[in-house]
C-alpha cells in the first residue's frame, strides 16, 4: 500500500466532477461543469480560457471561497468543503482585486498577512522588508494603499501572497494591470519561489504568452469544462500544427500547387486565397523543403514561402472554433452578482 501513500502526499490538488451553478435572474448558470483535475507537488499549471469560461470560479472553489454545487476537491490533502481551515493554512491566494485595505499602509498589511499565517512579528517584518525591496515597493510601502498606482497595488498583492512562502499558490489573473516589465518581474518571482520552496502554482490567465512562458502545463477551460490539458509544446504539436504560407505568381499556379499538396500530404489542411496557399500541417519545418522541391519540379514557381509555429490561440481555435483573442474582446462578466444555488 506504500505507493498509494506516496501518491497522496505528492498530489496537491485532486478534484472529481467539481461543479458550480449560480442562479442569476431566475436562470441557472452552469459556471463549472464537472472538472476533474489532478495537480502534483511542484507543478506549475495555467488555467487558460476566455472570460466567463469558469477559471476563476474553479479557483474560488479550490481556495474555499465558494462551496461546490456538486463534486469534490482536495487541496493540500484536505477537503475544500469539510476542512476549510486546514486548506486555508496551506495555501496562498492572490485574487483579482487588491488584497491590501485602501485605508491601510502597505507594509502594515504585508506584516499582518504574515502574522495571520503564524509568523512572529520579527519574522514578518524581515520578510516584508525583503519583499518590499525585491518588488520595488520601497518608496511606497509606508504610504496609504489608496495613493498607490494600479501596478504598485498589484505588486503589493503579490508580496502579500508570497509572504508566508506557501506550499501551494493560487493566482487569479495575476498580471492584469501590470506593465511588461512588472509582468516579467512577477514571473521571475514565481519561478524563484518554485525553485527555492518547490511551491505548486496554479494560475488563471487569458494572456496566451503568459501561459506559454510560465506554465509547464496548460489546462484549457471552455464553457466550464476542461477541453485540453498538456504541456504547451505538446498541445501545439498535437492540436494545432504549423502554418505554411506559399505565394505564387498567379492563382492558377496556386491551384495546381494546392492539388499537388493534397496528394503529397493527405493530413494537411490546404486553403487557397488567390495566389496564396495556406497549409496547416504538423512537422511543417520538415515538410516545407519537400513541398518547395515538388512545386519546382511541377514548374509552378514560388515567389515566397513562410512558416509560422502554432500559438496557444491556434490550439484554442482548433478545439473550440473560436479565437481566445475574440473572446477577450467580448468580455463577459464572471457572475459576481449571481446568487448561489444551494447544493
Amino acid at each position: 500500500m506504500a505507493p498509494s501513500v506516496v501518491y497522496m502526499e505528492e498530489t496537491m490538488i485532486q478534484t472529481q466532477g467539481l461543479t458550480k451553478h449560480f442562479r442569476a435572474n431566475s436562470t441557472t448558470v452552469e459556471a463549472v461543469r464537472g472538472i476533474d483535475l489532478s495537480v502534483a507537488r511542484g507543478e506549475m499549471v495555467a488555467l487558460l480560457g476566455p472570460n466567463g469560461a469558469g477559471k476563476s470560479t474553479t479557483l474560488r472553489m479550490l481556495t474555499t471561497l465558494i462551496a461546490p454545487t456538486a463534486g469534490s476537491a482536495r487541496v493540500g490533502g484536505h477537503d475544500v468543503t469539510h476542512e476549510q481551515a486546514k486548506v486555508r493554512r496551506r495555501i496562498g491566494y492572490i485574487g483579482q482585486g487588491n488584497g491590501a485595505g485602501h485605508n491601510q499602509r502597505g507594509r502594515d498589511e504585508l506584516m499582518m498577512q504574515g502574522r495571520v499565517h503564524g509568523m512572529s512579528k520579527a519574522a514578518a517584518r524581515a520578510r516584508a522588508a525583503e519583499l518590499v525591496e525585491s518588488l520595488d515597493l520601497t518608496e511606497v510601502a509606508d504610504r496609504k494603499v489608496m495613493s498607490l498606482s494600479g501596478g504598485q497595488r498589484r505588486r503589493l498583492d503579490i508580496a502579500m501572497g508570497l509572504i508566508h512562502a506557501p506550499d501551494l499558490l493560487f493566482l487569479d489573473e495575476p498580471s492584469t494591470g501590470l506593465d511588461p516589465q512588472n509582468r516579467a518581474n512577477l514571473q521571475e518571482h514565481i519561478v524563484s519561489l518554485r525553485r527555492s520552496h518547490d511551491t505548486t502554482v496554479v494560475l488563471t490567465t487569458h494572456y496566451l504568452d503568459e501561459a506559454d512562458a510560465l506554465a509547464e502545463r496548460v489546462v484549457i477551460v471552455d464553457h466550464g469544462r476542461i477541453v485540453a490539458d498538456d504541456t504547451p509544446s505538446r498541445l501545439k504539436a498535437n492540436l494545432a500544427g504549423d502554418r505554411i504560407t506559399v505565394t505564387f505568381s498567379d492563382p492558377s499556379d496556386a491551384g495546381r500547387a494546392a492539388a499537388r499538396t493534397r496528394v503529397l500530404e493527405p493530413s494537411a489542411v490546404v486553403e487557397q486565397t488567390g495566389p496564396a496557399l495556406d497549409v496547416r500541417v504538423q512537422g511543417g519545418d520538415r515538410i516545407l523543403p519537400r513541398l518547395l522541391r515538388e512545386y519546382d519540379g511541377d514548374r509552378t514557381p514560388v515567389l515566397s514561402a513562410e512558416i509560422a509555429r502554432p500559438t496557444l490561440d491556434d490550439v484554442f481555435l482548433n478545439l473550440t472554433g473560436r479565437s481566445l483573442r475574440e473572446g477577450r474582446a467580448s468580455a463577459t462578466p464572471s457572475y459576481p452578482e449571481a446568487q448561489e444555488v444551494s447544493a
Binding site: 481556495t63 481551515a85 491566494y93 491590501a100 485595505g101 491601510q104 495571520v116
Partner: protein, 252 residues
C-alpha cells in the same frame, strides 16, 4: 483552538485600529456633528426647559456621548463594504483567520473611537459647566463599550447582507438611525411625549442605555437604572455578535 481565536481576534482588532492610530485626526472628524449639537442645540434646550446651561448640559452631554457612539458605530459597516469591493475582505476570507475573529475583532475596535470621543466631549464641555462623576462616567463608558460592540457587529452584518447593493446599507442605516435616536430620548425627554411614543421608547434598547449613562455621569448609581442599561447593552452585544459571526461564516 481558543488561543488561536484570541490571537486571530487580536490581529483583526489591531489591523482595524491601524488607520486610526496612523491618522488620529480621523477620530476627531466624527466629533464635528455632535459638537454642533452641543453648541447650537444645548442653549435652545436650556431656554426651553428653563434650566440653566450647566443643568441642561448635565442632562444633554451623556445623551450626546451615546449619540456619538451611535453615529460612528452604525456607519462602520461601510468600511467592510469598501473592503468587500476592493478585494481585501476576500484576501482575509482565504487566510487562516477564523470567521468569528473577523467579526469580533472588528466589533471590539469600535470601543476605541467611542471612548476617545466620549473623553473629548466631556473635556470640551467642562469649561461650560458640565461636571462628570468620574467613577460613574467610567462605568458608563464600560456599558457603552459593550453596547457599541453589538451595534458595530450589526452594522457589519448589514454590510455583509447588502453585498450586491451598497446603497441598501445606507437606506437601512439611515431609516433606523433617527427613530432609535429620538425614541431613546437622546435629544429631548420622551416623558413629555404622547403615550404611543413612550411605549415605543420602552421597547427601544437604546433608551435604557441612555438612561443609565445619564444617571452614571451624574453620579447616580441607582441599581435598577444601571442594571437595565447594562442588560440592554449585553443583550445588544450578544445579539450583534451572534448575528455577525453567522453572517461572516456565510460570507464569500
Amino acid at each position: 483552538m481558543s488561543t488561536n481565536i484570541a490571537r486571530d481576534t487580536a490581529l483583526v482588532f489591531t489591523r482595524e485600529l491601524k488607520p486610526v492610530v496612523r491618522d488620529p485626526f480621523s477620530v476627531l472628524f466624527g466629533l464635528i456633528q455632535p459638537l454642533f449639537f452641543l453648541a447650537l442645540f444645548a442653549p435652545l434646550l436650556a431656554g426651553v426647559s428653563g434650566l440653566g446651561t450647566s443643568s441642561s448640559l448635565q442632562w444633554f452631554v451623556p445623551g450626546v456621548v451615546v449619540m456619538l457612539c451611535l453615529f460612528g458605530t452604525s456607519t462602520t459597516g461601510a468600511n467592510l463594504q469598501f473592503e468587500m469591493q476592493t478585494g481585501s475582505h476576500e484576501r482575509l476570507l482565504v487566510s487562516p483567520l477564523s470567521r468569528s475573529s473577523l467579526m469580533v475583532g472588528r466589533a471590539l475596535k469600535e470601543i476605541v473611537p467611542t471612548a476617545v470621543q466620549a473623553v473629548v466631549i466631556v473635556l470640551a464641555t467642562t469649561p461650560f459647566g458640565f461636571r462628570a462623576d468620574v467613577p460613574g462616567a467610567v462605568l458608563g463608558l464600560v456599558i457603552l463599550a459593550v453596547f457599541c460592540v453589538g451595534l458595530g457587529a450589526l452594522s457589519y452584518s448589514l454590510a455583509l447582507a447588502c453585498k450586491n447593493n451598497e446603497w441598501m446599507f445606507w437606506v437601512v442605516q439611515q431609516t433606523l438611525l433617527f427613530p432609535l435616536l429620538l425614541l431613546a430620548g437622546m435629544l429631548l425627554p420622551v416623558e413629555n411625549g404622547p403615550g404611543w411614543l413612550q411605549a415605543l421608547s420602552k421597547v427601544n434598547p437604546l433608551t435604557y442605555v441612555v438612561d443609565a449613562e445619564r444617571a452614571l455621569f451624574n453620579g447616580d448609581f441607582s441599581t435598577d437604572v444601571v442594571l437595565a442599561g447594562a442588560v440592554a447593552a449585553l443583550v445588544m452585544a450578544a445579539l450583534g455578535l451572534l448575528v455577525g459571526t453567522r453572517a461572516m461564516r456565510s460570507s464569500d
